[in-house]
């Protein structure tokens, strides 16, 4: 700079006085408005040519999409639970939550706005398009591409399945678009019916090049901030199973589910007998079932229920071996990072807004069960899934890391960590059983629902188990649950105890037609076991559509509203008897 200045000074002396002023101005301009200054790149934004340069950029995109995806957690729970029969709005809830619960949603209802789903979908589309360019330009290898492309592709299918079950007819957009509001334009993006959408999703997702979880040496599977990322990502086989189940392709669905159920059998899993197999509880070991202290089953206060032991610990335990045996897909919220955990405000009446609560229907459902010790309820209900705090029923699954259940006060109001529960072994077994039952494998379905494969296939008094305690069927219905000492057998499924076995409740009896009765039992069990994990609306819609029986859904919603004393119960029931009225309006205001 000094040099330029000196040079200018020398020139100035030579020119006339009138031009001095101009010279000063020009010098001033050249000093302040240099080109580099105008062209400097923003430090907190990336340009399109700065991402998608190598596999680490691709990883950042994947993680970024999941981060954005977590912003849908609250909406996911509200739509899937409050529209169904197990969750009710509290007196604190605003009119929009009431509308969701009463199936009378206005166009301005923020919970019904599908725009944020499409924002994530658009991110997925952008990533998918660029991943293809990257592999073409050799910026990542085929193996890396397969894993990432399939992951984001499957996540997009999951998002579309959600949209389909809530909005009925939605546009299926697979290319990135610049203006998200165009999604609403039916001329640009025609809408597919739910059936058409599911067929598209099955075609696309089945065509993805990779279906396993990220390999253990992938750059995306790491420990970060105390969390292992392996279970952050959607399980592709599970979603494939779900899609095939929605498409009523039962054998294919069962095959996908069974692949996941056999996760323990592949590779060198140290928990060969335990991973995703819904195993029995043993006295004096840490388990994730409903369990009482040894020989004290008659004592209510001996229920083992803490953040580290018992069925409750599924929702609160550290990411240890038992956690890994159950959880297939779960994303953590941490108070130190965005996005913020939305569930404390939603559920807690201590330091939260307490907007939703368990419906009376849900509480009656648990109270109507009987435990195998003669207690007249299902401990998964009032002992875990909800607690009565200060006279108010509070949904607890999301609060165990936040509330001290002895004092019912927050451990620390600023520690608002928690989890978004998306898929676990119980979900998997229920869905598999639903597919198997429809595929005429009633006995297997009933065994997985009730007390497990071994007890369903054993023969009393026979000690040589060589030919019993197994299904003798080909994949995906092959189960070996043999447990014998002379000769010695330990089949991979010998520890399976069934979902009701693990929950310590009496078996769900099959009354009348096996197919219908077991399916009813499975959907009921899904309510008891998976309540408030965001599966209910999908369960009801899927089965009601399959049976072509809108009453299956309408009656359950009616029961909820009726028992909550809602005068609109009858009106809502008759409305829901028409499947067209199941769906939310597909609109949003463009400037939002």
């Amino acid at each position: 700079m000094k040099l330029i200045l000196e040079k200018n000074m020398k020139t100035m002396i030579k020119i006339t006085r009138n031009k001095v002023a101009l010279g000063v101005l020009v010098t001033l301009m050249s000093l302040t408005s240099c080109q580099d200054y105008l062209d400097i790149e923003p430090k907190d934004k990336l340009n399109s040519d700065q991402v998608y340069r190598d596999v680490f950029d691709a990883d950042a995109v994947v993680v970024g999409i999941y981060g954005k995806f977590m912003g849908l957690a609250k909406k996911y729970i509200i739509l899937n639970e409050l529209r169904a029969d197990l969750m009710s709005p509290t007196a604190n809830a605003d009119m929009y939550l009431q509308q969701i619960s009463e199936h009378a949603v206005t166009a301005d209802n923020p919970y019904a706005n599908p725009k944020d789903f499409y924002e994530v979908i658009n991110n997925c589309n952008d990533a998918l398009k660029n991943f293809k360019i990257m592999v073409d330009e050799n910026k990542m290898d085929q193996g890396e591409f397969n894993e990432r492309y399939s992951d984001i592709g499957t996540l997009r299918s999951w998002l579309y399945l959600q949209l389909g079950m809530h909005y009925g007819e939605v546009p299926y957009i697979t290319e990135p678009i610049s203006d998200i509001d165009d999604v609403q334009n039916e001329n640009l993006y025609p809408r597919l019916s739910l059936t058409e959408l599911i067929n598209e999703l099955v075609d696309f997702t089945e065509g993805l090049p990779y279906t396993s979880p990220y390999s253990a040496n992938s750059t995306l599977v790491i420990d970060v901030d105390g969390y292992n990322t392996a279970k952050f990502f959607i399980n592709k086989e599970c979603l494939l199973g779900d899609l095939q189940l929605w498409a009523n392709h039962y054998t294919q669905a069962a095959a996908h589910y069974k692949t996941v159920m056999e996760t323990g059998s592949t590779g060198a899993d140290a928990f060969y007998y335990d991973t995703y197999r819904v195993i029995y509880t043993l006295p004096n070991t840490v388990d994730i079932g409903i369990e009482y202290e040894r020989n004290q089953e008659q004592d209510v206060r001996s229920l083992i229920s803490s953040n580290s032991d018992g069925w409750r610990s599924i929702f609160a335990r550290e990411q240890d071996a038992r956690w890994n045996n159950e959880w297939i897909w779960s994303l953590p919220f941490d108070s130190n990072f965005a996005p913020q955990n939305p569930f404390i405000d939603l559920f807690s009446n201590q330091g939260g807004d307490y907007l939703v609560k368990p419906s009376q229907e849900a509480m009656d459902l648990w109270d109507g069960e009987a435990q195998r010790n003669g207690f007249s309820y299902d401990a998964r209900g009032s002992k875990v899934s909800y607690h009565v705090i200060n006279g108010q029923p509070v949904i607890m699954k999301y609060l165990f890391k936040y509330l001290d259940t002895d004092s019912n006060l927050p451990f620390d109001v600023f520690q608002t960590g928690g989890d978004w529960f998306l898929y676990r072994a119980a979900t998997l077994h229920l869905r598999y059983a639903e597919a198997a039952n429809r595929d005429n494998q009633h006995r297997i379905a009933d065994a997985l629902l009730n007390f497990g494969l071994q007890s369903a296939y054993t023969v009393d008094g026979v000690t040589d188990v060589t030919d019993i305690e197994q299904t003798h069927q080909p994949f995906p219905y092959d189960f070996d649950a043999r447990q014998g000492d002379f000769p010695f057998f330990r089949g991979p499924w010998y520890r399976n105890n069934g979902l009701r076995g693990r929950a310590f409740v009496e078996r769900a009896e099959v009354l009348g037609d096996s197919l219908t009765s077991i399916e009813n039992n499975l959907i009921k069990e899904s309510g008891l076991e998976l309540a408030y994990e965001g599966n209910r609306w999908g369960d009801l819609v899927r089965v009601a559509l399959r049976r072509n029986d809108p009453a299956f859904l309408a009656d359950k919603v009616y029961e909820k509203l009726y028992k909550d004393g809602n005068p609109k119960a009858d009106e809502v029931r008759s409305k829901l008897m028409n499947t067209d009225n199941w769906y939310l309006p597909f609109v949003w205001k463009e400037d939002e």
Partner: protein, 488 residues
């Protein structure tokens, strides 16, 4: 440089003049200026200067409340007109203390306008009384003549009659000391402890005078309702002497203590405790029966109301007769099995089951069961408080549902362990009773008689297992025990 200025001076002058034009006015100052004369005075200045409340203004100056109303907080004053002040009984204003009390009953430390979305606003006055401001037009019975006049530190309403501070129920009872037997008795409970724990409470009230201390200073205020509390409303029945003595006399045979004075004291307590009720109930809305907090159904005969006294925390009815029949007065004691106070030995937790089950009709119940403990005569302890000196019929409900054999257990009433570890002074031990499997009925198991109540009247009830170490035989189980007093 001179040349440059010459050359460009026109432009510079033009821009300078533009700046001058833009920045010469100051709209913020204009905005903040107030032209409202009302806001130039505070409440004290206003109320002492206007003619229609000059008498109240004098009282403000005299009591020093004019300095309070000159504060920068927000106040509301319900200022009585001069005529209203003239109508106030002289006794209310006979010394500085009562004048302060009077004035402070017209001031609230909040701005309360006459417009509200509630029809009744309960206002805490500086006198610590809670007055009701109804529809913005009536304050504690006084009509608002002029509403919503504002000043720099709050507003005032002018009311047509003075808000003379009322006593509360407890103050009223105190004022009746000596002239009414029931009031006199209630005040003796300042000294006398009905329960042992009362003495601790009274000691606490003395060392820590504070917000709760008045509720602890008298056995009645502690055990029944704190009638000194301005924040709640109560209904209280004060009996005339004859009625009071009749009711006490009826209860005396059931509260026999070691001496007659003691008997009368307790009979009086169990009498008066049923005459206070939560919430203020106006005479026209009085039902024919009220249920006391102890569960006694008290019949109300409006014809017997001698006087209805409206007090700051509720209503007090003076009654010529208040006949509560013994059938409803003597309460059945129910002891829940799952709430024991102790066990004969503390190492059997693993054999002790607190259960939540259903009977054959699907009705839920909670109970306790102690099984396989291996100790002959293992016992579970309960407490039965406030038993009467009379015969009791004993019922229990015991469920034997996880065994196939019958077992036996018995009840022992009263007694304690002396220093030697021996059990002494029991009132009765009922015989062993069979507990047959899968019977869910309430069963009569016998009766006992209490001729004289102990000093504490807090009896130990022991549920005792069979004298056997065998599992299945020495099981204990209990849903509940019912002790039903018999009318003599």
């Amino acid at each position: 440089m001179k040349i440059i200025i010459n050359k460009y001076s026109k432009a510079i002058i033009a821009s300078l003049s533009l700046l001058a034009v833009v920045s010469c006015s100051d709209p913020w100052d204009d905005h903040a200026k107030s032209s409202d004369e009302n806001l130039k005075q505070n409440l004290a200045e206003r109320l002492t200067s206007i003619a229609e409340t000059s008498e109240f203004g004098k009282l403000l100056t005299e009591t020093g409340y004019d300095r309070v109303l000159a504060n920068t907080k927000s106040y509301t004053v319900w200022a009585p007109t001069n005529e209203a002040i003239a109508a106030v009984p002289a006794s209310e204003l006979d010394n500085l203390e009562s004048k302060k009390r009077f004035v402070s009953n017209h001031i609230a430390l909040t701005a309360i306008g006459s417009v509200s979305n509630q029809d009744t606003v309960t206002v805490q006055m500086l006198s610590n009384k809670y007055l009701e401001f109804i529809d913005g037009s009536v304050m504690d019975g006084a009509a608002v003549v002029i509403a919503d006049k504002y000043t720099s530190n709050g507003l005032y309403h002018i009311v047509s009659s003075a808000l003379v501070p009322k006593s509360n129920i407890w103050e009223y009872i105190k004022s009746m000391n000596g002239s009414n037997a029931m009031s006199t008795y209630l005040l003796t409970l300042d000294e006398f402890n009905i329960y042992q724990t009362d003495s601790i409470a009274k000691a606490t009230a003395e060392v820590m005078p504070g917000i709760y201390s008045d509720s602890l200073s008298n056995s009645y205020l502690k055990n029944v309702y704190n009638l000194n509390n301005e924040k709640n409303k109560y209904t209280f029945f004060l009996l005339e002497d004859e009625a009071f003595n009749t009711e006490v006399g009826k209860l005396e045979p059931y509260l026999i203590k070691s001496n007659a004075d003691s008997t009368t004291t307790y009979a009086s307590y169990f009498n008066v405790r049923d005459f206070a009720f939560h919430k203020s109930v106006a005479q026209e809305q009085l039902p024919d029966t009220l249920v006391s907090r102890f569960g006694v159904k008290v019949p109300i005969d409006k014809d017997n109301i001698v006087e209805e006294v409206h007090l700051s925390n509720g209503v007090l009815y003076v009654m010529s007769t208040m006949d509560v029949p013994l059938e409803t007065r003597l309460l059945t004691t129910k002891i829940e099995g799952e709430r024991p106070t102790g066990f004969s030995q503390s190492d059997k937790r693993a054999n002790t089951y607190y259960r939540e089950k259903e009977d054959l009709d699907g009705v839920a119940f909670e109970d306790i069961m102690v099984q396989n403990h291996g100790v002959p005569l293992f016992s579970i302890y309960y407490r039965a408080s406030d038993l009467y000196s009379t015969t009791y019929k004993v019922y229990w409900r015991v469920i034997n549902d996880i065994q196939s054999n019958t077992f036996q257990q018995r009840l022992r009433i009263g007694g304690w362990f002396n220093e030697m570890g021996q059990f002494v002074n029991e009132i009765a031990t009922l015989p062993y009773t069979d507990v047959v499997p899968n019977v869910y009925d309430e069963v009569y198991i016998g009766e006992f008689y209490i001729d004289q109540l102990g000093s504490n009247n807090n009896e130990l009830i022991s549920l005792i297992a069979a004298n056997s170490a065998s599992n299945g035989v020495n099981t204990l189980s209990l849903d509940y025990i019912k002790l039903v007093p018999v009318i003599k």
